[in-house]
Every structure is written in structure tokens, then in C-alpha cells.
């Protein structure tokens, strides 16, 4: 990257920081208005959140958000608004839980199998929205929202119909258990770091690897170039021979495949079987993470860590009798301020670049 590029990156990072700061100020005002002392609440959150256990928890929470943010960002890069990450990972979790427990492969192959099934299921679910768009012109926002509702209802129906097990506990009483069969142990993802109460699984590293691969794909490959071109100027891309329909199908499916990995921490690290209500809302938070990270995998990692930190440190709030939703509100404000501030800064940078270019040319003319 040249100097101008670094500068641009610097300004973008600064403006995102400023946006986060503004969000904290607005959140603080809200705290004051509701009768709390903002600075002391923030200090307590910070002190609590920076304890090793909470830091590990923050990173753990960030993992799925990185996946989710990357899935959304791939769509964004070509002006596709994939709101369906939520449904895609639900379907993927169920498929992975069922296949992963029914089919047992030797050793670490089991992990690969489960991840693969999750990606395929996510991609397949996203494919429906892509085909609807390409064949029938259905707006992907509408179709993915509908597919979310269908996915949630569909998985719930499957539980209640096929995953009811009567289990006999140690005292001999019969109870009803609604969840899929547990995954075999060689399909679990193990812990990488742990402190007293917290631990961080290798899933976090997987998320970082996925972010790196997404970056390589979007910014370094020919396919990624076609994807970004289609997003920057769809008409020009089409005129240049890039088949927009193919691009829509492919990018939606890749987005869905990554979405499929969102729920794998809950499934392969925490619970090892799928039950209703396991890991919800990650798809929607991923949209916020992607926006805050400017649809760039690097930014997404940072944004996901920030959100993870906020969520982990919010544990203290309940003890202090501050409603936990303040963190959700701050997250929401962050997204809004980021969109506004980055819009303003982007326009200013564009003007600056244009001026800089004409100045450079003018001085060149004088030199000649």
C-alpha cells in the first residue's frame, strides 16, 4: 500500500474510534438520565472486563461474531444485504449436529466433517435466496428475512418431532429430553487457553483463519476482484463481461457457508448437541459488526472483539443494578454513529484525494 492508502486507512480507523467514543458519550448521557453515574459505571465495566477471565470470555464471544461479520461482509461487498445469516447458521447447526452424531469418522476427520456439513448446509440455505433473486428478482433482504423465520420454525419443528428422547436419570425417574444426539468426543473443539473460570477454545483461531481467508479471497483473488467490481459499479462490471447472476449465486453461497460456521462454537465447544434456543441472535449482531468493521475482515475482527468485550464486561452491570440492555443500546448507537461519521469522513477524504491529485499534477506541470 502506498502512502495515500495508509493515510486513508488511518483516517478510517480514527473516524471509527471517534464514532465509538461518541456512542459511549451518548450511552453515558442515557445512564445519567436514568439516574446512574456514567463514569463510575464505565469504570466498573472496564475494571471487570479487563480481568483475565472476562478477557477470555470477550474473545470467546468475539469468535462467532467474526464469522458472522465476515459472512455479512461478503454480501455487502457486492451490494447484497444478507440478513439471513441467522437462519443459515441455525440450519447449519442442526445439520451438523445430526450428521456429526450419526456418522463417526476417525480422529480429527470428525471435526472436518462437522465443519463441512455446517458450511454446506449454510450455503444451501443461502442458495435459495440467491436463486430467488436471480431467477425471479426477489429482493434478498425480503427473502432472507423470510428464510430466517422459516429456518427458526423448521428447526424447532424438527426437534419437537424427531429429537424427543426419554431419558432415565440416576434416580430412575423418566424425563423428556429435547436435543440431538451428542457429538462423539473426537468431534469436539478443545480449549486452547484457560484461566481459573474461563477458557478460550481453538474456535477463536478458526475464526481468525476464516477472516484471513475471506480477506485473501475478497482483496487478492480474481474472483474477489469480480465480486468487488460488481459491488462498486454493477453496470460497469456487467459491461466488462462479469456475469452478475453467477456472482450473486456464488457470493451468497460463500456467505452462507461462512454463516454455517457461526454456531459451531456453541455446538462443538460448549454443548455438543443442538437444543432449541442454542446460540441465537448472532446473525443480526454480525450485521452490526460488519458495519463497524467497514466490511473489511481486519476491521471485523476488531469490531467483534469490541462487541465481545462489551458483552463480557456487562456481567458486572446487573450486580450494580444497571440494566444490561445499556450494552445493547451502546452497540446500536455505535453502528449508527459509525455509519454517519464514516460517511462524512469518506466524503471529506474523497475531496482531499481529488484536490491532492490536481495539486500533484499542477506542480508536475510547473516542473516540466
Amino acid at each position: 500500500m502506498d502512502r495515500a492508502g495508509w493515510q486513508r486507512l488511518g483516517y478510517t480507523a480514527l473516524s471509527s474510534l471517534a464514532a465509538v467514543a461518541i456512542a459511549f458519550v451518548l450511552g453515558g448521557l442515557l445512564l445519567q438520565v436514568t439516574g446512574h453515574h456514567a463514569i463510575s459505571v464505565y469504570r466498573q465495566m472496564f475494571d471487570y472486563g479487563t480481568q483475565p477471565t472476562q478477557l477470555l470470555d470477550a474473545a470467546k464471544r468475539a469468535g462467532p461474531l467474526i464469522m458472522s461479520g465476515c459472512a455479512v461482509a461478503i454480501g455487502f461487498k457486492m451490494n447484497l444485504f444478507n440478513i439471513g445469516v441467522e437462519g443459515q447458521y441455525r440450519v447449519a447447526m442442526l445439520a451438523a449436529a445430526v450428521v456429526g452424531s450419526a456418522l463417526v469418522l476417525p480422529g480429527p476427520l470428525q471435526i472436518l466433517l462437522i465443519l463441512l456439513v455446517a458450511m454446506l448446509a449454510g450455503a444451501a440455505w443461502a442458495w435459495i435466496a440467491a436463486v430467488l433473486k436471480v431467477r425471479r428478482g426477489v429482493n434478498e433482504v425480503i427473502s432472507t428475512i423470510m428464510l430466517n423465520a422459516i429456518a427458526i420454525g423448521f428447526t424447532a419443528y424438527l426437534y419437537n418431532s424427531f429429537f424427543r428422547f426419554e431419558k432415565i436419570d440416576s434416580t430412575g425417574r423418566v424425563s423428556l429430553d429435547v436435543k440431538t444426539k451428542p457429538l462423539p468426543e473426537n468431534g469436539w473443539i478443545g480449549s486452547m487457553l484457560s484461566t481459573g473460570n474461563g477458557s478460550l477454545a481453538w474456535y477463536f483461531v478458526l475464526a481468525l483463519v476464516v477472516a484471513l481467508l475471506v480477506w485473501l479471497m475478497v482483496f487478492r483473488t480474481t474472483f474477489g476482484f469480480q465480486l468487488r467490481s460488481s459491488g462498486l459499479n454493477p453496470v460497469a462490471a456487467q459491461t466488462a463481461g462479469i456475469d452478475s447472476k453467477k456472482m450473486i449465486i456464488r457470493s451468497m453461497m460463500i456467505s452462507g457457508a461462512i454463516a454455517g460456521l457461526v454456531g459451531m462454537q456453541a455446538l462443538m465447544v460448549d454443548e455438543h448437541s443442538y437444543r432449541p434456543g442454542l446460540a441465537s441472535g448472532l446473525g443480526f449482531t454480525g450485521i452490526a459488526v460488519s458495519l463497524l468493521g467497514r466490511n473489511h475482515p481486519g476491521g471485523i475482527v476488531v469490531a467483534a472483539l469490541l462487541f465481545g468485550f462489551l458483552q463480557a464486561s456487562s456481567g458486572i452491570l446487573q450486580i450494580q443494578d444497571v440494566p444490561k440492555s445499556i450494552v445493547d443500546i451502546i452497540q446500536g448507537i455505535v453502528v449508527l454513529t459509525v455509519v454517519v461519521v464514516n460517511g462524512l469522513v469518506g466524503r471529506w477524504l474523497d475531496k482531499r484525494t481529488a484536490r491532492g491529485t490536481s495539486r500533484a499534477l499542477a506542480s508536475e506541470t510547473v516542473a516540466v
Partner: protein, 524 residues
């Protein structure tokens, strides 16, 4: 909310000399956009109660001028008088309040509303907080009577044909009290009978005292219906004439200019090898009319075939059809003997066709991306710019640097985003991108539109060099100087058809102007 401004009916027929101030008088209007002067020293005097035609080629500045008059933007210099009063419209609503209405070329009607609802939309008469439909209907029928229309106000606009839709648009501006109507290319979408009906309506309106400004490039229509004609060329007024005192030929000469550019004699021979061959190519339109109507043409190696024509005569669709971007209804396209009719856009490019698209911002560039990425667009699958699945950034950046120096793109580096460059330099980048790979055939659409003289000379020179290297070229241009300067054969396209084929020797601007505006070639 505006109400109709009562204007007493004008006395006498429209060709009588009249007293009173002109309805519209523009003087010394100048309008600049970044890098372009769209209007300069434009004057226009429209007498009240007349049909005044403004003719000029596309891009001559007619629309810019009308937008100025309608308050859609403000002029950088010059004065506007309406009915003798100096005005300065900050917005279209100010123009509407002064009795000026505009009927756009593209209709702005809501299909799912009735005719009446469309007409009153935005200026509904109210009574007690509700729409006063009775008053609305009465005023509607008053306005409809003015143009002799018997359209049912309760019909859905979706059910109407093009002619009726246009009438609704006219009623809409009359309803808002307009006595000066601007009609932007009103006949472009009409079939001949509808054109006659429109003219009848306009004559009724004028008899009632309204003033009509009618923008067109179809000279026969203009001569038939206008009381006065103002000709605009290259952003400036070249003259005002009465239809009785000019003929079609003189008018087309005024419109396209007299200057015959010096065509440099070419040093190389045109080869016998056919590079591009179109047979009976038809591209269907939305309605019954074909956008490209049985076009056949041949481009040899080392030959430039120029297609002259007023914009919107089917050139765009023709180019898109060749490039595989638009399906053909019938006909075949061959590239060096190979049938490429059914190929996708990417495959077509892979066969070695370059394309300089019509609108560089819309179809040619990613403005926020750096130049080297723009230079890659459309060539990203070429092996030299790939390494495995990755873009070979070093190769394309080196290629872009070479392109920048060969084609004289003025930029500090290849990493500058495209929007930072002037139009001429953006265009040089596109021309360079398309010529760099030495294509078998180049489709060049308006290769020098909106660029300065220096950039034009560079681009012409590069196109000639490519021709001498053997590239077959189809040159689409609304700029006759360009067509005459570069072409070995000149075709004229009108209404989707090739209506004339000339050699540069026999082509004159006035002859081309005649064919471009619908005159038929009188040869066997």
C-alpha cells in the same frame, strides 16, 4: 398550492406579429459543470402564444438549457425573463408558480393510480382536510378540454397507451397552472398517428394562448409544427429561423455545423480479411418496435466503420448485442468467421473484442477504485494478470503504468482513485485498457465525448494506430467531425435501421445531417 393563472386568450393566429413581451427570454445563459461548459452565450426568445422549437443534436445543450429555465439548476451567468419580468428560479416549484411546466421525455406517472389521482398528485384541492374530488374533477376536465382530450379520469394509468400517458402528463402541468409548457422530445416515444394527435393538441393549446417550447431533433416534425425555431449547437445558440424561410437541408446544416474536418489520408491498406460481420441483427424492444431493426454490416481488418446517428437510434442496443450483453431476436454475429451470437459477454471479450462503452462513469469505470483496478476491469481473466486464483497485482500495476505513459493519462500514480481524474484522462484510461490487449475488433462508442481537444487528438491518434495494426473498428459517434475524421466507411443509423452507407469522400455534414434526422438515401 398553486391555482391556474388565468391568461386571456391570445388574439389572432400564431403567425401574426404580436405585441407584448416575449413569454420567455433568455440572454447570455452560461452553465458550467466541473470540467464541462454545457451552455455558453445562449439566447432564446419565445413569443407568447407560439410553438417554439429548439433543435440540436443530443449533447448540444438543449436539456441543460431547459433545466435552467425550469429551475432545476441555476445558470452561472445570464438572465431569464418570463413575460417581461426578470426571474431567478431557485427550484422547479418557483418555475411552476410562474406558470412554467415541463413534460419530461420519460413519463413520471404512477401506474397504480387513476388518471385523476396522477394529475392532482402533490397539488390536491382540499376541503376540510380531505381531498376535494369534485373540484379536482372539474378542474381536470377544464384542462383536458384545452388539449381536446376525452380521457376518462377514473381509468388506471397502467391501462393507458403511450399517447394517452403523454396527454396525462400535459394535463398534469396545465392543472398546475402552466401557460408556458416545455416538452422534452415529446415525439420520441410516439408512433406517427400519435404524433399527429399530439400536434393537434398543441395547436389547440396555442390557440388558447399558451406558449409551447418543443425540444426535438426530428426536423420534419419541427418544420411542420413550429412557429419559430432556435438552433443550438455545441452549447450555444447558432441562430433563430422561421420554418417558412428555411428548408430541411439548411436546418440540418445549422444543426450539425459546416466545418469539414481534415481527414488525414491513411497510409495503410484495408485488408480483405473480415473481422466482424453482422447479418440481419434484430434486437426487440419493449413494444412492437424493434430497437435494432435488421442491421447488417461488415468490418474488415484495419478498417474503421463509422456509425453516425442521433443518439438513441439503436446504437447502444447494437453495441450491447455485439458484446453479448443483450439477447438478439434474430440474426447472427460473426467474429472472423466464428459465430459469436450465442456467447456470453465474458466469452465474447475472450474472443478479442474490446469495447469503449457509451458512458464512462456508468459502464466503464469504478470511480472509487484505484486506476490499476480500473485498468484490470474486463481483463481480469487474462492469464498474464493471474497467478493461480490470485490477481497478479504486480503485473497489472506495471501494465497500468505503461498504459498511463503510452496514452498520456495525467495522474500522479496508478493508485489514485479514478474519480480524481479529469474526464479526458479517465477516457484515455479506458481507451488504453481496451487497446492494450490488441483486440481483433474494437467497438468504440463516443470515444472522445466530453474530453478536451488535446485528449481527443491523443485518442484519435491511438485509434488510428490500432487500425494500422489491423484492428477492425466499429466507431459509434454523435460527433460528425469524429466520424468523418476517422472512418473508412460511414453508415447512418436512424430509428434502429442503417439508412445510409457512404464513403468519407461523398459524405458531407449536411448530407449526414439529413440522413440522421430521417431523410432517406436516394440511391439504388
Amino acid at each position: 398550492m398553486s391555482s391556474p393563472v388565468p391568461v386571456p386568450p391570445a388574439e389572432g393566429a400564431s403567425d401574426h406579429p404580436r405585441t407584448g413581451p416575449p413569454a420567455v427570454e433568455l440572454d447570455g445563459i452560461e452553465k458550467r459543470f466541473p470540467g464541462v461548459i454545457a451552455n455558453k452565450d445562449v439566447w432564446l426568445k419565445v413569443e407568447a402564444g407560439t410553438i417554439h422549437a429548439i433543435v440540436g443534436e443530443n449533447g448540444a445543450g438543449k436539456s441543460t438549457l431547459m433545466k435552467t429555465l425550469y429551475g432545476m439548476h441555476q445558470p452561472d451567468a445570464g438572465t431569464i425573463h418570463v413575460n417581461g419580468v426578470k426571474v431567478s428560479f431557485k427550484s422547479p416549484s418557483a418555475a411552476i408558480a410562474a406558470g412554467i411546466g415541463m413534460v419530461h421525455q420519460h413519463f413520471m406517472l404512477a401506474d397504480n393510480l387513476t388518471v385523476l389521482e396522477n394529475v392532482i398528485l402533490g397539488s390536491e384541492p382540499q376541503k376540510g382536510g380531505r381531498i376535494d374530488l369534485k373540484t379536482a374533477a372539474r378542474r381536470f376536465s377544464d384542462c383536458a378540454r384545452l388539449i381536446g382530450s376525452h380521457i376518462d379520469p377514473q381509468r388506471l394509468v397502467a391501462e393507458l397507451g403511450v399517447g394517452d400517458r403523454q396527454r396525462v402528463e400535459i394535463i398534469k402541468v396545465l392543472y398546475r397552472g402552466a401557460r408556458i409548457l416545455i416538452l422534452d422530445e415529446p415525439t420520441a416515444v410516439l408512433v406517427p398517428q400519435e404524433v399527429d394527435e399530439l400536434f393537434d393538441s398543441l395547436k389547440l393549446l396555442v390557440a388558447d394562448g399558451a406558449t409551447i417550447i418543443f425540444i426535438s431533433h426530428k426536423l420534419d416534425e419541427v418544420l411542420a409544427v413550429a412557429d419559430d425555431i432556435t438552433v443550438i449547437r455545441a452549447g450555444t445558440t447558432v441562430g433563430a429561423v422561421k420554418p417558412a424561410t428555411v428548408d430541411r437541408k439548411q436546418l440540418s446544416e445549422m444543426m450539425v455545423g459546416f466545418q469539414l474536418p481534415t481527414s488525414e489520408p491513411r497510409a495503410t491498406e484495408i485488408a480483405d480479411e473480415i473481422r466482424l460481420q453482422l447479418d440481419d441483427v434484430v434486437v426487440a424492444g419493449v413494444g412492437a418496435k424493434d430497437l435494432v431493426d435488421h442491421v447488417s454490416l461488415t468490418v474488415h481488418s484495419g478498417e474503421i466503420v463509422g456509425v453516425a446517428g442521433v443518439e438513441g437510434s439503436g446504437q447502444f442496443e447494437l453495441c450491447e448485442a455485439i458484446m453479448g450483453l443483450r439477447p438478439l431476436a434474430s440474426g447472427t454475429i460473426r467474429l472472423g468467421g466464428r459465430d459469436i451470437t450465442e456467447l456470453t459477454a465474458q466469452q465474447t471479450r475472450g474472443e478479442g473484442i474490446g469495447y469503449i462503452p457509451f458512458d464512462r462513469h456508468r459502464e466503464g469505470l469504478m470511480l472509487s477504485a484505484p486506476l490499476w483496478e480500473n485498468a484490470l476491469l474486463g481483463r481480469e481473466i487474462e492469464p498474464k494478470f493471474r497467478s493461480g486464483p490470485f490477481v497478479n497485482a504486480a503485473a497489472i500495476r506495471a501494465d497500468t503504468r505503461a498504459l498511463i505513459s503510452t496514452f498520456g493519462v495525467r495522474t500522479p500514480s496508478e493508485t489514485v482513485p479514478a474519480f480524481a481524474l479529469s474526464g479526458g484522462n479517465q477516457q484515455k484510461l479506458i481507451v488504453g485498457r481496451e487497446l492494450e490487449s490488441d483486440p481483433n475488433v474494437l467497438i468504440a462508442a463516443h470515444p472522445t465525448r466530453g474530453v478536451d481537444v488535446g485528449a481527443q487528438a491523443t485518442i484519435w491518434d491511438e485509434l488510428r494506430q490500432a487500425r494500422d495494426r489491423g484492428t477492425g473498428m466499429l466507431l459509434i459517434s454523435a460527433d460528425l467531425d469524429e466520424v468523418l475524421a476517422l472512418s473508412d466507411v460511414i453508415l447512418v443509423m436512424y430509428d434502429g435501421r442503417i439508412t445510409a452507407s457512404l464513403t468519407p469522400g461523398e459524405a458531407t455534414p449536411e448530407l449526414l445531417g439529413t440522413y440522421m434526422t430521417g431523410g432517406e438515401q436516394e440511391v439504388a
